[in-house]
């Protein structure tokens, strides 16, 4: 007689597994007078490193609003679900938060990982906000009419570095080194390539690609060394850890050009890999180093440190604060939580002052295609704010959409 295919242990365990699954799957209805803000973010996996600081900053703003009496006379209640840095899980995490009555769904910092959750919110007709996604798709074009992003477009970062280096560092000969691994990097270089031809006398003397995971960029460095003259500046469109490795190799090869970057390399946590680094500039929304021109930013950093045990490690915490700030203002002006009314109020914002610079939204662009950025320069291994810059004209939508 053939043995029962499932072992006895397994047979005993299977009903329990299924029961546990079903029990925890049944929806728990939440009703109350609190306004629910859902956070479908990554609590594990690589996206967690970006989501957590921004979410914490958002929670600080929520507490401030609650302490001041709440929104529309109601307290804000936070519901957090985990996307585990997985796209399918992101959609489920979004659904769970929406099932608990979220009026606003705050999704992950990366478009690819936040979009599934944001699409669920859009289907339900709720406002969704990307914590710090810097791709134009994190908004109307990639999700829907009620989706927004709280950060500054990658293209703006590239364009800012181009214009700043031209005016303040006499950059005339530039080299573009693009890490083709993710869309964010391509966005930075798109902005740089858009701004550079508008600057009189600037020549892009060469361009090259690499991948974040490449152990060595010796081939790319040889091509830079083969140029007649060392370029004034190298636009490095990359993120940690590949960017750190690239910078280390560039300096080791004796290339002393000014290295321009996107905001993704902000922070001092990686500078030990390139000791004594100088001539390295990064655009940021605010300073984590204690030298922000706005004293309220430093006050925020201290609040963050008191509450969470450490200061924010890079600029990506700040968009979380801005997110709740502008959304709450829009809700107050609309005097309603209805997605379309809140969206309309957000779209009316022109240079709306926030703690980290003015914010503008329009019907076509639910993102920042122009922003005041601070320039952080690393000198002898120490970063510090040296300047601030706003690009002279906003990056146009066709450039952002690469048409």
């Amino acid at each position: 007689m053939p043995q029962n295919p499932l072992s006895s242990t397994l047979r005993r365990a299977l009903p329990a597994l299924c029961a546990g699954l079903l029990a925890s799957g049944l929806a728990c209805a939440q009703a109350g007078k609190d306004i629910v803000v859902g956070f479908a973010n990554a609590k594990s996996g690589w996206v967690e490193a970006y989501d957590t600081p921004a979410r914490r900053a958002a929670l600080i703003r929520i507490d401030e609003i609650n302490a001041a009496g709440g929104l529309l006379g109601r307290k804000l209640k936070v519901v957090e679900t985990d996307t585990k840095s997985d796209r399918a899980q992101s959609a489920k995490a979004g659904l769970e938060a929406l099932d608990q009555g979220a009026e606003l769904l705050v999704v992950s910092c990366d478009y690819d990982f936040g979009a599934p959750a944001a699409l669920e919110a859009q289907k339900k007709g709720k406002v969704s906000f990307f914590l710090c996604a810097e791709d134009i798709k994190a908004g109307v074009q990639g999700v829907g009419k009620n989706a927004f992003s709280a950060s500054v477009l990658a293209a703006v970062q590239g364009a800012t570095m181009a214009e700043w280096a031209y005016h303040k560092r006499n950059m005339r000969q530039a080299y573009v080194l693009l890490d083709t691994t993710i869309e964010y990097n391509k966005g930075i270089c798109t902005g740089f390539d858009w701004m550079a031809p508008q600057l009189k006398g600037v020549h892009i003397v060469g361009r090259d690609n690499f991948k974040n995971g490449d152990a060595s960029i010796a081939a790319q460095i040889s091509r830079i060394k083969a140029l007649l003259k060392e370029p004034d500046a190298i636009m490095l469109c990359s993120y940690i850890p590949g960017a750190a490795s690239a910078v280390r190799q560039l300096r080791a090869a004796g290339i002393q050009s000014l290295i321009l970057n996107g905001a993704a390399v902000d922070g001092s946590y990686w500078l030990d890999s390139v000791p004594g680094l100088s001539n390295f500039a990064v655009p940021v929304q605010g300073s984590v180093y204690g030298d922000d021109p706005n004293p309220q930013v430093e006050a925020f950093n201290k609040t963050f440190a008191t509450r969470y045990g450490a200061r924010p490690s890079n600029t990506y915490a700040f968009p979380g604060y801005v997110l709740i700030d502008v959304w709450a203002k829009a809700v107050n002006r609309a005097q309603s939580l209805e997605a379309d009314k809140v969206t309309a109020e957000l779209e009316k914002m022109r240079s709306e002052p926030t703690l980290f610079g003015p914010r503008t939204f329009s019907k076509e662009i639910h993102h920042q295609n122009q922003a005041r950025l601070l320039i952080s320069e690393v000198k002898a291994g120490k970063p510090g704010i040296v300047d601030e810059w706003t690009i002279s004209s906003p990056v146009p939508l066709p450039v952002l959409l690469k048409r």
């Binding site: 699954l21 079903l22 609590k43 796209r87 959609a91 769970e96 798709k137 048409r403």
Partner: protein, 353 residues
């Protein structure tokens, strides 16, 4: 009824489909999130059954089947998306695709056929290799798919995600395709193709002497399995609404291979059991990570424990049962010690080891 099923050798697929139908029906009583989970499980069944068609009967581990899943996923993206979105994002597509959109069922079948066509070309070359060399060659297939799709910006939007794929796939749609996949796998298994391939797996020399052409049988299984995997990919894209080349790379490969190996790669029931058991375990762990209340105690595992515990479970399962949970056997009605009905057709079984 039982005799009918046994006589026509339909017992196993009917039992499997009934079990999946039960799971699907139960999920409708739950939340949206649970229904999404069950849909995901059913889509995984399609993918793993697809992998089983080749891996189970040939004994060769193939790491490249996610490439076919991905080809199927992108295939439906090309054929079902609204032309107004496609025209801006996927400018390199031929005009015929750019200006039309198909209904989802024919589009899914077409995507499966596309994956099968690629498998025919690639398999004709790869399957001339034997053993471990073929397995590594299938891995290179996966890598080629990933690199090509990550860089062919005008046709696949490169490393960016394609968003806006219509999402008609719910629990019952996924179940229907899972039933089709099980039917195809079962048919292949009891046909002369499956028998010939198992003969090649067990005794290649003796099989050759019986006139069985190994390469031809391997190719048939490879193409059929690619078709089913392509269907799985089509479902996946039309469930999530978003596709990205990295979603069809190493992570998914190892998850699906693990489900197949844990369940028992030598039988169809092993493939389905592996998916169900491992999915249940993973979901339970995810719930525990979020935190559930048992009476007055709140139980919460630290983040990331789902992956760790799943890994440990895999290791344990392989130590205790190297041939998988099903050990190469199929689901059957429990049999009496002294059967009163005429002898039935013996179920599919691998040689006891």
């Amino acid at each position: 009824m039982k005799n009918f099923l046994q006589r026509h050798r339909l017992e196993t697929p009917v039992l499997l489909c009934l079990a999946l139908a039960l799971v699907a029906a139960l999920s409708l009583a739950g939340s949206n999130g649970l229904q999404r989970t069950i849909t995901e499980v059913l889509i995984r069944v399609v993918m793993v059954v697809g992998m089983f068609i080749f891996i189970g009967h040939s004994g060769l581990i193939s790491f490249g089947h996610m490439a076919f899943v991905g080809i199927g996923a992108y295939g439906v993206a090309w054929t079902t998306m609204e032309p107004s979105i496609k025209q801006y994002v996927l400018t390199g597509l031929p005009d015929l695709l750019l200006h039309s959109a198909m209904p989802w069922v024919p589009a899914s079948l077409l995507a499966g056929l596309l994956a099968a066509a690629v498998a025919l070309l690639a398999g004709a070359v790869i399957l001339r290799l034997g053993g471990i060399a073929a397995s590594i060659a299938t891995f290179s297939l996966l890598a080629i798919f990933n690199v090509v799709y990550s860089n062919w910006d005008s046709v696949t939007a490169g490393s960016s995600s394609i968003v806006g794929i219509p999402t008609p796939v719910g629990v019952w749609q996924a179940f229907a395709f899972a039933a089709v996949a099980i039917a195809l796998a079962h048919w292949h298994g009891i046909s002369r193709f499956g028998l010939a391939l198992r003969a090649v797996r067990e005794e290649p020399v003796a099989a050759r002497s019986c006139g069985i052409h190994a390469w031809r049988q391997l190719l048939v299984a490879f193409v059929l399995s690619a078709f089913v995997c392509g269907l799985g990919g089509a479902l996946d894209a039309q469930f999530l609404g978003v596709v990205n080349p990295d979603a069809y790379y190493l992570g998914r490969t190892f998850t699906c291979l693990t489900m197949l190996v844990i369940g028992g790669s030598a039988s169809l029931s092993g493939a389905v059991t592996g998916v169900l058991v491992l999915s249940a375990l993973m979901e339970l762990l995810i719930r525990l990570e979020t935190g559930i209340a048992l009476g007055s105690i709140a139980v919460q595992l630290p983040g990331g424990s789902q992956e760790i515990v799943t890994g440990l479970a895999m290791v344990l399962a392989l130590i205790r049962r190297p041939t998988g949970l099903m050990q190469g056997r199929d689901w059957q009605w429990p049999r009496l010690a002294h059967p009163q009905s005429p002898p039935t057709v013996p179920p599919l079984e691998m040689q006891p080891r």
